[in-house]
């Protein structure tokens, strides 16, 4: 067992290195050996996939190797794909020398590797990948002519990335030096922010069992809980989350996660309190330019107003208690909460 696990570690290193400039030192032989190694591990994965003890030993070792970048092998299933991953990693790497590069490409020809009776050869799987890519490109054209994007919650691209995010989160949670919170923080700093928020929102809307790469009976929804907790701890992220995402999406998320709905309402209340009535313009305005304007606030509240029961009642209660605290006025122009309630009720008729 131990020799196998050591090989696993070394191959995982090789895989990580394959994306770096270090490959410039690799020659054709190195490339061939690395691929042979990958093939061997794939064979192991296929043979012992059903063998619980071996599988869990492998997964434990992989967890101890888990790096936040997600390079290298991260799960038992990934063992089965190691050769394709290695190949593509090298293909993308401009640092790879000419001779090594030739050796790599020649692996694509039939019969390049040893014959494995029941496994699909590397080149067949790569060809299939090319087919998938073409399929996705074709569908993108047909599915959204003129570049129209589907609604965020239904966007298959966002959905897939949300599934990936949850998958990684689970790995981070299970790994020894995991620190899922820290990892999320790093992703937040490096990724395009709006996009990250959208993916996070879609991730929070997922039904509890469907997470990409779920291999065993895990406690469902743990990853979502992790994400929620992290969001609640990061005030900056939470503020951006509640500010920049579309109202409908936020309402759906709030409906699912009570802790978030409370935080959301809290933020809305804070933002509302910063508005004052401008007599000249006849409307509510913020003190500073980055304050949330009246229209946006109304939009968000309107969406919440039409949410299903538990949330809707919460919203009503929050608004009414805010109005009561603010003097319980009935006349417009004196309390932002009164005006909000008036506008919302008016909108209903």
């Amino acid at each position: 067992m131990e020799p196998l696990l050591q090989q696993l570690e070394r191959f995982s290193e090789v895989l990580s290195v394959s994306g770096t400039a270090h490959v410039s030192t690799w020659g054709p032989e190195t490339v061939r050996r690395a691929l042979d190694w990958a093939r061997y591990l794939r064979h192991v994965a296929r043979r012992f996939g059903g063998h619980a003890r071996i599988r869990s030993a492998v997964e434990r070792r992989l967890r101890s190797l888990w790096g936040p970048e997600g390079r290298g092998l991260t799960s038992f299933q990934a063992l089965g794909r190691g050769d394709v991953q290695l190949f593509l990693s090298l293909l993308r790497n401009r640092a790879l020398g000419e001779a090594a590069g030739r050796a790599l490409l020649l692996q694509l020809l039939p019969g390049a590797g040893p014959r494995d009776a029941d496994a699909e050869e590397l080149q067949a799987r790569l060809a299939r990948l090319a087919r998938y890519r073409a399929a996705l490109l074709l569908l993108r054209e047909a599915g959204s002519p003129g570049g129209e994007r589907p609604a965020l919650a239904e966007d298959p691209v966002l959905l897939t990335q949300a599934q990936l995010l949850l998958g990684r989160l689970r790995e981070a949670r299970e790994a020894e030096a995991g620190d899922p919170g820290g990892w999320l923080g790093r992703v937040w700093t490096r990724a395009p922010r709006d996009h990250f928020l959208q993916v996070a929102a879609v991730a929070l809307l997922q039904p509890l069992e469907k997470e990409l790469g779920a291999s065993g009976p895990e406690t469902p929804g743990e990853e979502s809980q992790l994400l929620v907790r992290w969001l609640l701890e990061q005030s900056e992220v939470l503020a951006a989350f509640c500010r920049h995402l579309p109202a409908e999406l936020l309402t759906s998320v709030a409906g699912r996660h009570p802790a978030l709905s409370r935080a959301y309402l809290g933020l809305l209340t804070d933002w509302g309190a910063r508005l004052h009535y401008d007599l000249q313009k006849g409307t509510w305005v913020g003190a500073e330019s980055q304050d949330v304007p009246w229209e946006e606030l109304l939009l968000k509240f309107r969406s919440l107003w039409h949410a299903p029961p538990p949330l809707q009642e919460e919203v009503l209660a929050a608004l009414e208690s805010s109005r009561a605290r603010g003097g319980d006025f009935e006349v417009p122009g004196l309390s932002v909460w009164t005006d909000l309630l008036l506008a919302l009720r008016r909108g209903e008729r």
Binding site: G101, Q123, A134, L136, L138, L139, A142, Q163
Partner: protein, 561 residues
């Protein structure tokens, strides 16, 4: 060898032109054109690979100077890359062009250019927005990890859009525009054999738009049908039925495909024929009267063209048997009246014929009565001058032969009845079954012959010998060639006698040896035995000694031919 390459070189030019034309614009027209040529282009790529793998770089450049351009254009044609195995052959061709020992910078440039092309077709899918690709990479995921999941999500999202569109009736906002559905179907043409696409194929086949005319493109139906017939895709029955209902050529093709399998040189046993037929899903589809009529029409044509060949007859009967089974399993609500399936004959006749007995271990009075009734109805339809030309006699016969086991039962009954039961009806039925075109007079004559034979076979007084029996049957057939089918009838009667009566069983082997003088007759006897055993199996009739004998005889005869 060289000539092949000349042909290939000119093909190269041809395809280069085509690819350039397809490159120019991406309208629905060019898409349709591309899809038409996908199989031929794939074949070309395959041939190209076979040629290239033997050559070195310089020879390649000499022989096929434009090959590089052609392959580069192919790399940007998504329809070709999405089709079947084309991407595989393309990759192989590109690899063959690699210069294994680059001598100069020109060679290196070539290699680097090939590297670029291969990277391109295997590279990460860059979506509209750059951030998305970066994000996935930031998470540490590679395309190989998430392409399958992404494809699955895209497919599911399209399927649910189709379903919504279907359910939302007049709510035009949520509806998918018909042009979009049409272009989606065009785009799916190369992809129908990808397993991940099955839900979408199924969704499109069961999608009914609100337009009066068909929205899906014909190439889509053809591609799906082809994939289904070659078993490259598996679809649920309702989807296949929908396919055939909406695209008539597909149904025709499916029937022809089935015929090719059934009527081969091998002379399949009825069990195997039944398997082929059930596999084809045609009996289930035929529960829909429109499809049944088409299928039936093809059987009718086949019978007419082959002059009632026994293979076609057998196929028709097995098909009907599978069809009736499928009909019984069908949801009761969707049942159509029988006359919608058999519009050319009287509905009551069809109803009676469909009352298939489940168990003939005791040939009860009920069966006898039914046979009488069937005989009477047919006789009226065929011979009654008052009715005139209401029903074409051929149609009555055609309907009757669908349920051929009634005729077999009539023969059995003839040889098992020990009383003086009226057998005229049975005789008429048999005469009609084998010789539908006879005039009433000729039929009467045949009946007389049969009657005489029956009495001979049933007479207990002297056990017959095989030779005597053969002589007796020899009387029935003159040198007249038109009597050849009558000969078939007599042989079948004879065989029934051999199997059913104790006297017959003892002389069975001898008699059959005498009878089977030609190959043709031997095959006929084999067919008869196979059919009888098949029927007995299905009807679970208990006739252990007869069945055993029949099986043994069948094996012996099959060994002979």
């Amino acid at each position: 060898m060289d000539q092949d390459f000349v042909g290939l070189a000119s093909d190269c030019q041809y395809w280069l032109q085509k690819l350039s034309a397809w490159d120019q614009s991406s309208t629905l027209e060019t898409q349709k054109d591309t899809c038409l040529y996908l199989p031929q282009f794939q074949e070309f790529l395959r041939q190209m690979y076979e040629a290239l793998k033997e050559m070195d770089s310089n020879t390649v450049m000499e022989r096929f100077p434009t090959i590089g351009q052609l392959l580069a254009k192919t790399c940007s044609n998504q329809f070709i890359l999405a089709y079947d195995e084309s991407q595989k052959f393309l990759i192989w061709c590109l690899c063959c062009l690699i210069n294994k020992e680059p001598q100069n910078s020109g060679d290196s440039k070539l290699n680097s250019w090939i590297w670029g092309l291969l990277s391109h077709i295997l590279s990460t899918f860059r979506f509209d927005i750059k951030e998305i690709g970066l994000f996935s990479q930031g998470l540490g995921y590679e395309p190989v990890d998430y392409y399958p999941a992404l494809l699955k999500n895209v497919v599911l999202s399209l399927v649910s859009k189709l379903r919504e569109s279907h359910l939302n009736g007049f709510n035009t906002q949520r509806r998918m525009a018909p042009e979009r559905v049409a272009s989606l179907s065009q785009v799916c043409v190369p992809l129908v054999t990808l397993p991940d696409f099955e839900p979408l194929v199924e969704g499109m086949l069961t999608y009914h738009g609100h337009e009066p005319q068909e929205v899906l493109c014909p190439a889509f139906f053809e591609a799906v049908n082809e994939a289904f017939l070659l078993k490259k895709i598996s679809l649920p029955t309702p989807a296949v039925v929908s396919l055939w209902l909406r695209h008539f050529p597909s149904l025709e093709k499916a029937m022809l495909h089935l015929f090719a399998k059934l009527i081969s040189r091998e002379r399949n046993s009825l069990r195997r024929i039944e398997c082929f037929i059930k596999d084809s899903l045609l009996p289930q589809a035929a529960c829909h009267p429109a499809i049944f009529r088409v299928v039936d029409e093809m059987f009718r044509c086949a019978l007419l063209e082959t002059d009632g060949a026994p293979e076609v007859l057998a196929a028709t009967q097995v098909f009907t048997h599978c069809f009736v089974e499928a009909l019984e399993k069908e949801n009761k609500q969707l049942r159509f009246a029988f006359k919608t399936y058999f519009p050319y004959t009287s509905p009551s006749l069809a109803t009676v014929l469909l009352q298939h007995p489940k168990d003939t271990s005791q040939l009860s009075c009920r069966h006898f009565w039914l046979l009488q009734r069937i005989s009477q109805m047919l006789r009226e339809a065929v011979e009654d001058q008052a009715c005139g030309s209401c029903v074409d006699p051929f149609e009555s016969w055609f309907l009757f032969i669908h349920f051929g086991s009634w005729a077999d039962m009539a023969a059995e009954q003839l040889l098992r009845s020990e009383t003086e039961a009226p057998v005229a009806a049975l005789l008429w039925l048999l005469a009609f079954y084998y010789r539908p075109l006879d005039s009433s007079q000729q039929r009467a004559q045949t009946m007389v012959v049969l009657s005489r034979l029956q009495l001979l076979m049933l007479s207990r007084s002297t056990p017959l010998s095989a030779k005597e029996l053969q002589a007796a049957t020899g009387e029935g057939s003159n040198a007249d060639p038109t009597q050849s089918v009558c000969g078939q009838l007599i042989r079948h009667l004879f065989l029934n006698f051999l199997l059913w009566t104790p006297g017959g069983r003892t002389i069975a082997r001898e008699a059959i040896t005498l009878m089977a003088c030609t190959d043709e007759i031997t095959y006929e006897i084999i067919g008869f035995l196979d059919q009888t055993l098949y029927r007995w199996d299905y009807l679970c009739s208990e006739a252990p000694r007869s069945a055993k004998l029949a099986r043994e005889l069948l094996q012996e005869l099959q060994a002979q031919v």
